[in-house]
């Protein structure tokens, strides 16, 4: 099937595109030249070597860190060290009064007692 199918506009377009194709193809570089041109942005063997070296160093550092962490594990917390995360809610104003023994007034103050002698009934 031809592209234009009898449509004169499409036929004109087809001819125009054919001329464009001829112009583009005439300007095309040789096949071998395209293949042999220097690869843009490609990293050579040196670049790859550096990448491999960097990856190796990173892996080595991770391995050393892992071994050191395994040899010196962090001390496990005991049950007595545990503190509830909501403990701060218990710190209310005046709470220190409840945590300590109340102090009685000084002994110099006159303290009324029931030891006053009363006449005995005979």
């Amino acid at each position: 099937m031809k592209p234009h199918d009898g449509d004169p506009h499409e036929q004109a377009l087809t001819e125009l595109f054919a001329a464009r194709e001829r112009r583009d193809e005439a300007a095309s570089p040789g096949f071998a030249r395209v293949l042999r041109r220097p690869v843009h942005g490609a990293r050579g063997a040196g670049g790859r070597r550096w990448t491999l070296a960097a990856v190796g160093a990173l892996l080595l550092a991770l391995a050393v860190f892992g071994i050191v962490s395994m040899r010196h594990p962090a001390p496990a917390p005991t049950l007595a060290d545990w503190k509830a995360p909501t403990d701060f809610l218990l710190d209310v104003p005046g709470g220190d009064l409840l945590d300590s023994t109340p102090a009685f007034p000084s002994r110099n103050l006159p303290i009324p007692t029931d030891s006053v002698s009363r006449p005995r009934r005979l």
Binding site: P3, E10, L13, F17, R20, R23, P29, V34, R37
Partner: protein, 170 residues
């Protein structure tokens, strides 16, 4: 089609491939050569394999289109970094210029195609310039046949208007 050594097929299709690469690279000749080389290497090194489901030309044009898209993304990313370091204007001046020389009709066609959305331009070029069927164009662009048909009809209509009014564009 030989699946063992695709070199003869690549060489036979080379002029058409270059023309398609130019279309995929906004008519930038330098970029088109780069894309073409990367595409050939993909095929020759087996990173892109022809499985025989379509024609070799459809397969190759698809590889070229994908490679051009990758290149575009990479350049866009580089552009962001270059702009960040104040090198954008220089980089932009180095690329994008069309080196085409031809008669006035072809220049007008190029200008009209530059106005079309990418998909419409690709479908009409594959159909009218590279002689593909709508199905082949759809396969090359990895879109449905129906979608390719719609893009083709719209592109034709748009070109009819753009090329029919030369004075307006002058």
């Amino acid at each position: 089609m030989s699946q063992q050594d695709p070199s003869p097929d690549l060489e036979r299709l080379h002029p058409a491939s270059f023309s398609w690469a130019l279309s995929c690279c906004r008519r930038d000749r330098e970029e088109a050569e780069e894309v073409l080389q990367a595409s050939y290497l993909k095929v020759l090194e087996g990173r892109a394999r022809f499985d025989g489901r379509s024609s070799f030309k459809t397969f190759l044009f698809g590889v070229i289109r994908r490679t051009a898209a990758e290149q575009r993304r990479r350049r866009a990313l580089q552009g962001v970094w270059l702009a960040r370091f104040g090198l954008g204007a220089e980089a932009a001046a180095d690329s994008g210029a069309s080196h085409d020389e031809g008669d006035d009709r072809l220049r007008r066609l190029d200008a009209a195609l530059a106005v079309l959305p990418r998909r419409q331009r690709e479908v009409i070029e594959l159909r009218l310039q590279h002689g593909m069927t709508i199905e082949g164009a759809a396969e090359t662009l990895a879109i449905s046949t129906g979608s390719a048909r719609v893009h083709y009809a719209r592109a034709k209509e748009r070109l009819r208007r753009l090329l029919g009014e030369p004075e307006e564009r002058a």
